[in-house]
Amino acid sequence: MREACDLVVVGAGPGGLAAACRAAEAGLDVLVLDAQPEPGGQVWRGEARKGTNRLARRWLSRFSASGARFRPGARVVAAPEPGVLLVEEGSSSFAVRYGRAVLATGARERFLPFPGWTLPGVLGVSGLQVLVKDGLPMRGKRVVLAGTGPLLLAAAATIHAHGGEVLYIAEQASAASHWSFALQLWRHPAKLLQGALMSATLISVPTSTDAWVIAAEGEDRVESVRLSVRGREEQLQCDYLGAAYGLVPNLEVARLLGCETSAGAVVVNERLETRVPKVHAVGELLGIGGVDQALVTGELAGLVAAEQPIPIEMERTWHRVRAFAARLALHDAPRAELRRLATPDTLLCRCEDVPMSALEGCQNLREARLYARLGMGACQGRTCGTAAQTLFGWSGEDVRPPCLPARIGSLRLPSEVSSTHTRES
């Protein structure tokens, strides 16, 4: 099967949706692809059904009215030549020929290994939040959260709202860094409001800065966690532990297309164009900045793609959210102690069961991959590669197709990739 479009958007989170709306409203034939069954990305997951979040409702209905075509459950797996993507959709696949592309593939959580991090019941912070939103029963469950930044509070609020008991929130940032970050939030009214609302509902949850998980313990699943809290050790019995240290961009599709990356983000110019002509990057790919950044960069890229003028106010907003993203990065940067928690038998790569001790003598990620099978498994280093980068300062390996595990059939080229437009609406 073949598809053609003026603009392909990869990812239907706020970044992708904003880009698609702007471009489609200006008359481009826009095709939006997302691996998930519904639009919304991470932050608006499930909103297409629930409609509880006002901002999400506004963008999702604008998206339905925009004329952009949406393909749910469509995973971009390969980029066989410039202007063509291969997409896996259930048990079939198709090729997309595009004029321009907006990459809006978002972010994932950063996991750092500590003893017990692979026990059942230990999840990411936002990962646990997503499961709860999707229906994981929380009533009567005791939860400890450890990580960094505003997402800790967002997760706590969700768990609380679903009847879970959040016993403790451990924020790894130092008190000084945390409060100076919080004080900067006045520049970002939307976030300040969100933060205030959340803290209000969480008033009863003990929270500490300079705090992190030392170990998770239990027989078949997590039963307790040991925390380091301002230099003291504390032990808490719990049913779930959410532990992850901020987010990192999903760079795989961008790197597959040959986009340059630097310091863990895609390099773009002021038109949000990557070093690959006609390929733009938005949202978390530019460095973690949350919904506000995703929306404004998405809108900008959509307008650029459609060759529309950029309102000056939009540029100003972008510069403002960029400043926020820079501060967030400083705040969320994992502290040195987190790099020393794993013991020799702690697994670093859970796909291939690679313990820390197996990396002895390895000088870089390629050696760890070749000699110890680190990142050779199903996730291709999405989790352990990021951890190894943080632990040892090793930089990433080349991305090879497919960028997600895919059926061999999905890597087969359709006999001819059409370049004629097939607009439906």
């Binding site: 390969a78 048990s91 000699y371 498994g377 291709q380 197709p401 059939g409």
Partner: protein, 378 residues
């Protein structure tokens, strides 16, 4: 300046195997590698240890090398994944089956154990194969392994005997009696061996080595079980595209439960990118032999550059015009297999010993005559 009996330039499987053999003979060795041990073409290869009979010299070197691997096998760490699964050469029609009898004679004359499988025996051995094949040749002692860890094992063994392992050290220049590193350091040595694979001509202009690119694909664990390395006999006559590129069916069971699929050949292509059209040809060919292939989960596709010589045989021995320089390069698509034999041949010549097989067919002198030297200097 540090002095060694021998400096080996290039820590692929060939250089590492040589360091292993020389250090075992008490030679003081430095193994100098630009990046990491086994991270070049060695990391891209399939790791099929295969006796090949395209010509007598190839058969002599490959069959001897496979038997050397077998002797080494018990001493290799489990992670090297040595697995004596044997090879099945698949005959798709009667013409290919007819070619089998000549091969049987070749192999048996070289002391290689082979068996002929008729169609029924073939499907009993490999039920996953597509119907319609007429039979196969089984080469019993062929094996597979995981090349980068095999190379690393050799290098670490040499190191344990006192060899100096220098990784992350690109060599800039070869001189009589010394090599110059890119950081300006100089290592002196009586003998210098060039084992830099496809990069060898950059340190010794005029070497007849050119890249021949290949593609491989690995599946996730839990792929349908095949029990032998499967290769089509038709590879000899397999269709070549207009660009001289060719593909052949080649499938390997890994002890991890993964399936490794090959392969393609693109002469003269030195790029690393996956060529989608060629990959498509390769997968189409593979699907003809393994039905249901399209439904398997692919984990990764990659490419590698085989260091090819005009006659497909490696360059093993002294450089005819530079008596201080030894060559151990140009192993094309068989360097994992022939690393063991190559290391012996070069070590024997270097130490003035006779070898188990005749070294002359691999002598660099067959290409590097006076006239080719003039061309190289022109």
């Amino acid at each position: 300046m540090s002095a060694f009996d021998c400096v080996i330039v290039g820590g692929g499987i060939v250089g590492a195997a040589l360091a292993d053999v020389l250090s075992a003979d008490g030679v003081s060795v430095a193994l100098v590698e630009a990046r990491s041990i086994g991270a070049g073409t060695t990391a891209c290869g399939m790791g099929h240890l295969v006796a090949m009979d395209d010509n007598a010299a190839e058969l002599a070197l490959t069959s001897w090398s496979v038997s050397l691997w077998r002797e080494l096998a018990d001493g290799l760490p489990r992670t090297v994944e040595y697995d004596a699964c044997g090879t099945l050469w698949l005959a798709a029609d009667d013409e290919e089956m007819a070619a089998v009898s000549a091969k049987v004679a070749n192999y048996r004359a070289a002391g290689v154990r082979v068996e002929v499988l008729d169609s029924a025996a073939l499907y009993e051995a490999e039920p996953a194969l597509a119907p319609g094949l007429v039979g196969a040749l089984r080469v019993v002692d062929d094996a597979v392994l995981y090349p980068p860890l095999a190379a690393r094992t050799f290098a670490l063994r040499a190191q344990a005997r006192g060899a100096r392992l220098m990784t992350g050290c690109p060599v800039r220049e070869l001189r009589p009696g010394s090599v110059v590193l890119s950081n300006g350091d100089v290592l002196t040595a009586r003998h210098i061996v060039l084992a830099a694979g496809v990069a060898s001509p950059s340190l010794c202009p005029g070497l007849p080595i050119s890249p021949r690119k290949g593609h491989l694909l690995i599946t996730r664990r839990g792929a349908p079980v095949v029990h032998h390395q499967l290769v089509e006999l038709g590879y000899l006559k397999s269709a070549h595209g207009t660009d001289g590129a060719s593909v052949a069916f080649n499938a390997q069971p890994r002890v991890t439960g993964q399936l490794l699929l090959g392969s393609s050949r693109q002469p003269g292509d030195a790029t690393r990118e996956v060529d989608a059209a060629l990959l498509e040809r390769m997968l189409k060919r593979a699907a003809m032999f393994l039905p249901g292939l399209d439904g398997l989960q692919a984990l990764r596709v990659w490419t590698g550059l085989r260091p090819a010589t005009p006659d497909g045989l490696p360059l093993l021995g002294p450089h005819p015009e530079k008596p201080w320089l030894w060559l151990a390069c140009g192993h094309e698509g068989l360097g994992i297999t022939t690393a063991t034999g190559s290391a012996r041949l070069v070590a024997d010549q270097l130490l003035g010993r006779t070898s188990a097989i005749d070294a002359r067919p691999y002598s660099p002198a067959r290409f590097l005559t006076a006239s080719s030297r003039e061309t190289a200097h022109a």
